[in-house]
Amino acid sequence: MKDFSRFLSYFSRRPKEYVLGFGTMALSAALFLAMPRLVRHILESLEKDPSPRLIALSCAVILGLAAADSILFFFTRRILIGASRDVEFEMREDLFAHLLRLPPRWHRKSRVGDVMSRAVNDLSAVRMMIGPGIMQAANTIVVGTIAVTLMAFASPALTLVALAILPFVAVATQVMGKVTHRRFTAIQEFFSEISASAQENISGVRLVRAFAREATEERRFDAKNREFRKRNLGLARLNALYFPMLQALVGAGFAAVLWVGGRKILAGELTVPRYVEFNLYLMELVWPAIALGWVVNLWQRGSASWNRMAELWAAEPLAAESADGPLPGGTLEVKGLTFSYDDGPPVLRNVSLAVEPGTTVALVGRTGSGKSTLLNILLRLEEPPFGTIRLGGRDLRETPLPLLRRALVAVPQETFLFSDTLAANIAIGRPGAARAEIEHAALEAGLGPDLATFPKGLETIVGERGITLSGGQKQRTALARALLADAPFLVLDDAFSSVDTETEEKILEAVKARSGTRTVFLVSHRLSTIQHADVVIVLERGRVAETGTHEELLRAGGLYAELAERQRLSDEVEAA
């Protein structure tokens, strides 16, 4: 198992629980296994000098033992399984905290579905291993040891006969386990295939209909369906063999004990009560022996899952930095910035620009020209090379991230709202903001008319468990969040694409009026938006192609003028 020390640390945090849990388990097993001895006692007294009093007394003792055993086992379960739930809780919490601190780069590269499956399915498999897995393993060991010892006392020779089946059980479990695993994997693989092909059919439904291929598709599915049934039956046949076979092996053991034991009784080497006692021990061994295979399975799955989780742990989190200190500010200077994702071609080439505080900068260019990448680098969602960006004279890479995050606030292209109230979503911008401030931010972002139509105004829950907002409403909520933060830098990455032009105009005016010394970066396709900027920077294939004001660039008749003309036409067509 990878990162075994971390795995162990969850157990070493709670030694008391485990000592206590195993202790009560051993004690309860000992009490439970004392009962056959009493049964023998009763039978012996029945044979020799029958005494109703003695029988009644022994029965009372059996009941007492059983009661004590039950109570102890209640605690065993509560303590050991409870501990496994605590460990699960801690592992999940640690994992989430770890994920929260992994760099944006890591999150960009990983798929949410994959991370989820590790944090959910794998964690659950690990929990099965440390909960029922550990408990059952310990139980098997304890019960097995005590029962075999007591059996040996009752009759060593019979014990050997009874244990003779153990190797067979072990081999059967091993072989069956392997074959089961192989067939199960084969089924899982085929399940993926049949699912994928059904999914393809469903996704391509229009095509199938348009080409009238329904019958062929049914035939193709039928072939897969048949194969799937065949593989499933293969596993089912194994199951049909497995448990009956274990049972038969155990039964054969009983038959052997009956025969050999019977001979001994006839020879006077064994008494009937001892024989019965022996049989009772043997019965208590059946379940632990069968459970062993199950436990091995749990451990195999659990450790494989732990290894998958350990891969998440292996990712390096961001260093913890203090959020205290003066906010970075002043001139933002980009010098010779060239950037590429991983080993890909450069997305930005030798970009240089300087932005004074209080300036509104518009980034313009075609799709893929590098606008969003540049903004993401300023936000340090992607790391710029050292020495290429300076903020207030300090290298951006050396500015503590928490401070930078306080100074730069963004409304990303794809807005993300949590399924919580609108107010809570906006308050993310500045925790602890007064209610009036949240309302003000919402109004500034142009949410006023929308709020009136929501059932509970700002307290309306949005998202998965609440109402669905339109694209424009989402964007304005994200903007309100950013405005509430009231940071010296505001980054708007195509943040108004779903807001109509008129509303956008109003919002921008409000933003500008409050700005003062705020520096605003915005990406937009709309001329009306870009006109508000003090400086327009035109990007073309990762390079700065033109810089100037809207009017200057229009007059220059270059790339910007062309883009503007295209936009004008497009607006006209859409308005028609």
């Binding site: 049964v39 919490e93 009956l258 990303p412 006209e572």
Partner: protein, 618 residues
């Protein structure tokens, strides 16, 4: 996740007889297996019950024989031995009894194997049938069903919901009867041996049943709570992983961690509650079984002293009492299986009961073969939702061999026209006619067979290029496939690929470029030599070289047949016989390129915009 929650809530529903009957009707084709399983089940129960009887007989007949004729179980076994011509005493009897014991073990094994094998065949058969039916149903369901149902949910019906029925048919109802048979058999034997002691032993069953019922209810409630809470944990995780950028940009790590702790702890607490039920249940059963044992020893011991019972009989009682509670526990589990199966089957039946509205009329008109290729839209009105009209009275005609180009802004209704022409939906007013017949008068599948279509999203299936072009039609000759590929200009690509036409494509045509995928989808439409071609041009831009190849391919595709094109390419638009300019669900302008350009209206502006885009791409 929301669906998950809703499904959890649906679990609590009560017993539905109609549903149950329908559920069992699924097993009808496999009644042979079911019957066979019941027979071997009965035999298996008998074999299983022989063990304790034989042990008791061994004690009474062989180990400590008393004077006088044997009683009870021992008498039964003794008579059995005598009929076999064996001495019911001493070593020979022991050999025989041990042999019988081994025989019963082997018989149990054989019967059990057969039972599991046959019930599995039944279960797998039922699932196979259901998957076939669901899939077949999906092939006929209205396209509108797919608009309103996410793919994932349909997949759940086909996979998870079907699987939930497996247990009911394999380990569910047959072994339910098996458990009842074992319980009944034990009760019968015990009463035959000693009615009083049998009554005392069965007395333990009452508290056992009560405890089991208490456990079942409590465990079910807590289980439901656990599921709801784990769903919350997961959706919290999912949400915060999806929105991790916002969390980090606004430095909400600590706060998110705090909220997560609450959700996570709720889940832990719910689990601890459920542990309580388990922690009480299993020890309580152990205790009750010990209680039964003590009662047997006490009362049975008394009878032995009085000479009314043998030690062997007491041991037989002890061994049977040990076998009580497994069937009892199983019974409570079966109830849960049944509930889960009912919830799943209800969802499955709901899907199966969905009758398509786009279907053949009772006596469909014969589809003309070959089609002439005449299309008419006659004052067509349509909306996906009743209150939102997408087409507001569209009329046009296409004569055989004509190419009609549909242009307009996004959302103007171009794609809807295509969907109505293929009868994916039915018009609300007006009519769509092909070769003079209303599309609603034909069998939809037979009708569509005369069409060729290229969708905007060049959807390719997992399989070889040849299979994709033939659309898995085994009857299509290889030459036709080759011809179509060469005609659309796939020749150079096929020559370059080592496996040529037999190159395997992964999901969605992975391994091919955007342009190549388009060409394959062209070949797919062309291979069928359709009389009517529908082309919804892709908007994604390709390099100029590929563009030239595609333009040529489009030319080849459109010539010699009636074509309706949702056009984005200037070359396609310009060569069309007629251009329909759509805006907000209405035909605003109609005519040839030259006519419309001269008019200086909406088309002229669209054209200018296209030119700009073309310059930008160059």
């Amino acid at each position: 996740m929301a669906e998950q929650l809703a499904e959890d809530e649906a679990q609590g529903r009560g017993f539905d007889r109609g549903l149950l009957r329908r559920l069992f009707s699924l097993a009808l084709p496999y009644r042979g297996y079911a019957g066979g399983a019941l027979v071997v089940l009965f035999l298996e129960s008998v074999a299983q019950l022989a063990g304790p009887l034989l042990t008791g007989a061994a004690i009474d007949l062989v180990f400590s024989p008393k004077a006088g004729p044997p009683e009870g179980g021992a008498a039964f076994v003794g008579r059995f031995l005598e009929t076999l011509g064996l001495e019911p005493r001493g070593a020979p009897a022991l050999d025989a009894i041990a042999g019988l014991y081994l025989l019963s073990v082997l018989a149990t094994f054989g019967f059990m194997f057969l039972m599991v094998e046959w019930t599995s065949r039944m279960g797998q058969g039922v699932m196979f049938d259901l998957r076939t039916r669901i899939f077949g149903n999906l092939q006929r369901a209205d396209v509108a069903l797919y608009d309103r149902t996410p793919v994932g949910r349909l997949m759940t019906r086909l996979t998870t919901d079907v699987d939930a029925l497996n247990e009911l048919f394999t380990s569910g109802f047959v072994s339910l009867l098996g458990d009842l048979a074992v319980l009944g058999g034990i009760v019968a034997i015990l009463y035959a041996l000693d009615p009083t002691l049998a009554t005392i032993t069965l007395g333990v069953l009452i508290p056992m049943a009560l405890v089991t019922n208490w456990f079942r209810k409590g465990a079910r409630d807590t289980y439901r709570r656990v599921r709801v809470r784990i769903a919350r944990v997961n959706s919290f995780l999912q949400e915060h992983l999806s929105g991790i950028a916002v969390v980090q940009l606004f430095r909400r790590e600590e706060a998110a961690q705090g909220s997560f702790r609450t959700v996570n702890d709720d889940h832990r607490v719910a689990n601890l509650d459920s542990i309580f039920y388990y922690a009480v249940f299993y020890p309580a059963l152990d205790f009750l079984s010990a209680l039964g044992m003590a009662a047997i020893l006490w009362w049975g011991g008394g009878e032995v002293i009085q000479g009314t019972m043998t030690i062997g009989a007491v041991v037989t009682f002890l061994q049977y009492s040990k076998r009580f509670y497994r069937p009892l526990m199983d019974l409570s589990e079966k109830y849960n299986i049944l509930q889960a199966a009912m919830a799943s089957s209800e969802r499955i039946f709901q899907l199966l009961d969905e009758a398509p509205t786009i279907a053949a009329p009772p006596s469909p008109a014969p589809v003309p073969r070959p089609l002439r290729g005449e299309i008419e839209f006659d004052h067509v009105r349509f909306g996906y939702k009743p209150d939102e009209e997408v087409l507001k009275g569209v009329s046009f005609r296409a004569e055989p061999g004509e190419t009609i180009a549909l242009v307009g802004a996004t959302g103007s209704g171009k794609s809807t026209i295509v969907s109505l022409l293929l009868r994916f939906y039915d018009v609300t007013k007006g009519a769509v006619r092909v070769d003079g017949g209303d599309v609603r008068s034909f069998d939809p599948s037979a009708f569509r067979d005369g069409f060729g279509i290229v969708l905007q999203d060049t959807f390719l299936f997992t399989g070889t290029i040849a299979e994709n072009v033939a659309f898995f039609d085994p009857a299509m000759p290889r030459e036709t496939v080759e011809r179509a590929c060469f005609d659309v200009g796939l020749g150079p690509l096929l020559k370059r690929l080592p496996d040529g036409l037999d190159t395997k494509l992964t999901e969605r045509g992975g391994g091919l470029s955007v342009g190549e995928k388009q060409l394959v989808s062209f070949a797919r439409a062309l291979a069928r030599d359709p009389r009517i071609l529908i082309l919804d041009e892709a908007t994604s831009s390709v390099d100029p070289e590929t563009e030239a190849v595609i333009e040529k391919a489009v030319d080849r595709l459109l010539s010699g047949r009636t074509s309706v094109v949702v056009a984005h390419r200037l070359s396609t638009i310009v060569r069309a016989d007629r251009i329909l300019v759509l805006s907000h669900g209405e035909v605003r302008e109609s005519g040839t390129h030259a006519e419309l350009l001269a008019k200086g209206g909406l088309y002229a502006r669209l054209y200018a915009l296209q030119l700009k885009d073309r310059e930008a791409a160059a």
